[in-house]
Symmetry: D2
């Protein structure tokens, strides 16, 4: 950490800081410049609140953190890419996975037909919401456990792994009984009890970035899960909230490329929520693979105009199948492999 | 709702929409313009998902919602200002309340001395965190129930009502046992299980706007609480996340003025989190009262430079007392009353 | 346009609106719903300020525009993709162009060596700043006309077309004397005099989106140029300003895909400014082509760590050449062609 | 400046940086920590591009600037508040000024009646647009010089000083012939030629913050004017662009309070553009004075529902007069004076 002093800071101001540092067993290295002074504090055992403390001292202009606050999640902690295994399917590494399915599970017919269609097109995992977070208390919030049972039935028949959201700590055991991957939605990115609870299951977790979560906060939320000795975290970029309202959100592919450098965790992209428009999903899916994402999670629905949730961003079976073949071509051009149900 | 058709939409496209509307017992009123057609749907019983459904139809350019999605929270539902009573103190109406105290309860000495000081300066409620949401798993997360007990002790001695955050549904009963007002933090603005759980207690709830929550979403989150037959919601603006990083957040006083028109609920402001800098807190407190807020929640700490959390944004006792007398003057100039512990 | 009335709007309120419409020779079509009324106005000759006018009327809740405000720029005006010809090179259509070069022209040696290197790697156009907009008055602002002369010399030797920024209306003639493409920078996206002036030259214009320009505003700025009978506009997405500061800007590839639908104009991407980090440029370049962009403009410098401007986002010659071969592979996988200096 | 090295940076990496510093006559002070090293560079003569240069070096993690890039504008350069004199009226200091008038000058009758009304209510300056920046090429762009003549006539009759926008460098002399204060609009905040041109006139300049301009960039734009030996800059906060669309912009009063600390220049607020809704203007005007602004610029129109521009955010004469008396009360409560035409 570095403490930058004001132009008019006095020797006594610097002395006061040194005294406080000494209380923590730290030593500051002052550096006197022509205009102003700085104090470098480079010990490893800096208390997390020290920075705030020192900002309050007389004569201090600002403090600057020089280490990143996440550890287990960082590339420095683990240079090698983490591969999360989901019932035999590797997420991360050279392959690209595609997770597909409806926003919400609506009935058996809907989820079974979708499972068969996305499997036939090459998807390896099935998504589907049993518990749905909704802005309004008056909209459909999911079928709950019966939806989980239908997902499990779809897995039995098709062999697809299943990915579904858990919204509250007390539901974790129930959802974990059925799901292969526990999804944490964007609204819960800083629901720390929930993060720790899914951490404890040791199951793979799909951690969606929140609408206004910085990259650093996103990785800190992953750290909550990893710190429960659960290394099986798959990050998911799904668009951030910006001033632009012509699309539902702004897909941040810069973040995908940067997170692949800063962390060893696999990163996938959700182009359906990121755009909110089904006709933009194929282009952004291709771009996501091109930027280096390890996979995609895409909304597919047998009859999008009758979907109970997010129909306008869902692909039909035909559009999804067409997209899959284009994804294969682009993965090949990048010397990567699109993992498919047959591969 | 209004459906706007593309220039090249055909009669068959419009027919298809009419047919779907008929399935819901609705009737569309088409209006043929020179450039394009629109279809007005003005029935009251429009299903919440209809808009998404219709956006998927051939020939549709966009759909436009013309009613607000919240009901109980809206000014149209209740023209008169709601006044939430907290142990005899009215929040809302002509008076302005001040809630003050440390970010986190650290020990008995700290919370008792703060309670006495803010009471002496005129505050009517005490804030203090027992459970603290923290971005990093490695920082102080609050003392838990012992902190609640210290808060209760401070109430016993000073008569101040106590306001404290609850972070997860399973803690609601515990926190409600001690607190007079249950605070929902910015990170939990869309933690719907938690919103419903605090709703069920019927206790006053302080609902902080999230970092990137629109005004509409904020009121919808309030609706989750009101729909549990708990009308005792106090809204709290605490700054939003924007591109500007020179302050911790951007205080949105436009939102305070607008919400006072759109909703009947009381609105207070948290200038401490909104600015992140103690030296900006007094100015923004004055501005908040001037814009029409019903009160303030301010961080005060006996020794801000040793605070375990958010010290840099806390006022000292002296600064807080000085601010209180300026707040009184401005309230008077606006024909409002600053409610104080003596009044 | 649609006027949505308040629940409590009276017949007189609606009458007043009808009267105002009649003054403009328009007719409103009222539609009475159960909860509220709307008035549809579908004539083509609606004055641009009518919407603001009506919002002020008693009983009006909101007005909704149902046509887009740009005309010449819209896909509805011209269904076929525009191809802008730059000295024989088509921008738009099936090919992808790459423009490369330094942020600022520094000296003859620098620009000549860069021109040769990017040409050898396959670029078809050379970028280089003669006039540089800089946030601070104390930083390097470009060499001016001598830089333009060096660019022209580079064109003479290599055959590359040249792209350079013009910052103020009085410089347009000077810059147009040398440049093949006039670049309008992000800061000047709403400098309307400048837009009209470059429009009048009829030369190709590269129009960069501003930091906080919506897609609609961007297309309206293009409209300023097109309305001068200059159809040769190349749009350029270069990142928007959001809350995320880990990258210089947030590249908005959603916008590229959406603009390709809403407008017939070609769209290219500037991954250098969009990321601000040279090591992210290759990934985002690949993603940009994958999403459907018609080309790229990339910063390349012989010695990035000695660049007078934006060195940290410039590629070396080697990195640029490596990127070009990957771009070719991805274009092929998408059935497009990377236009190169040899092709 | 501080250079933070990667964990695995070598002695040779540090050596390379030292060598580069030596080329500039600078010396780095390395500080070896347990985890990583930093290099402090505290000389005054650091070239502006050094930071970018060093970021490109092997082993460098980041560079941190520790001085602010503006000089003349900073509070450190001038501890005393600047008071800009406009025909005898002090802007800055203990008084608060109110500038009022229509968005655009439409005709003599409109501007003269408005001038009389705002004067009667106590305003000391008249605003009115002769040249209007408009997003669309198809909307009203102002009357030009005849509007300036009408403004001058209004000044002759009422004694009000006049404030009007100049949009392009070649218009500066013309506008300066009539105006007492040259306004730079939000879209031109980084139109550097224009900033220098108005700087050269030595006339008072009202510099509006751009939609997505950081506080630092705003002060750097002021620096462009001050560096032309024109100290007469009045800053104007007018709302920034954020994710919230319920109001036209988000008024950033945090910025007003912070700029008053960081700079010696006077700061006023434009609540009309900041909210976009006339009924929010009074509340935000009061808040602006309460936060410490030195004045307001408010849109007033004789017949807002027939305004050619921004009618929905204009006050009527009655509403403006009512606001003025409330502003006086709040200024008094803060021990400031509302400067009025009679005072």
């Amino acid at each position: 950490m570095i403490v930058v002093m004001n132009n008019d800071a006095t020797a006594a101001d610097i002395e006061a800081i040194q005294k406080r540092l000494a209380e923590y067993g730290l030593r500051g290295h002052p550096l006197q410049g022509e205009e102003r002074s700085i104090i470098g504090i480079v010990g490893a055992a800096i208390p997390p609140t020290l920075r705030e403390e020192l900002e309050f001292f007389t004569g201090v202009r600002q403090t600057v953190r020089i280490t990143r606050p996440y550890k287990l999640t960082s590339r420095e902690f683990c240079a090698k890419d983490t591969v999360v295994m989901v019932r035999g399917i590797p997420v991360g590494g050279n392959g690209c996975v595609v997770i597909a399915g409806p926003c919400a599970v609506e009935n058996e017919e809907q989820i079974m037909s979708t499972a068969r269609a996305v499997k036939a097109a090459g998807a390896t995992m099935l998504r589907g919401g049993a518990f749905k977070p909704r802005s309004s208390p008056y909209t459909f919030r999911g079928l709950g456990e019966p939806a989980l049972q239908m997902m499990a039935q779809a897995r039995d028949e098709t062999g697809l792994s299943i990915v579904t959201e858990v919204m509250t700590p007390t539901d974790v055991d129930l959802v974990a009984k059925y799901a292969d991957v526990l999804q944490i939605g964007a609204r819960n990115i800083q629901n720390y009890q929930l993060l720790e609870e899914v951490g404890r299951t040791k199951k793979p977790v799909l951690l969606k970035r929140g609408l206004s979560t910085t990259i650093e906060e996103w990785l800190l939320s992953a750290e909550y899960i990893l710190s429960q000795d659960n290394p099986n975290v798959i990050l998911c970029e799904r668009g951030i909230r910006t001033f632009e309202t012509a699309t539902r959100n702004t897909l941040d592919l810069n973040a995908v490329a940067l997170v692949k450098r800063r962390s060893h965790l696999p990163v996938i992209v959700d182009p359906s929520h990121a755009t909110g428009k089904w006709y933009l999903v194929p282009s952004l899916s291709l771009a996501s693979i091109a930027v280096g994402a390890d996979g995609l999670i895409i909304e597919v629905h047998p009859d999008p105009d009758r979907a109970t949730s997010d129909g306008g961003q869902s692909l039909t079976f035909e559009n999804f199948a067409a997209l899959m073949s284009r994804l294969g071509a682009i993965a090949t051009a990048l010397d990567r492999t699109l993992l498919t149900s047959e591969s």
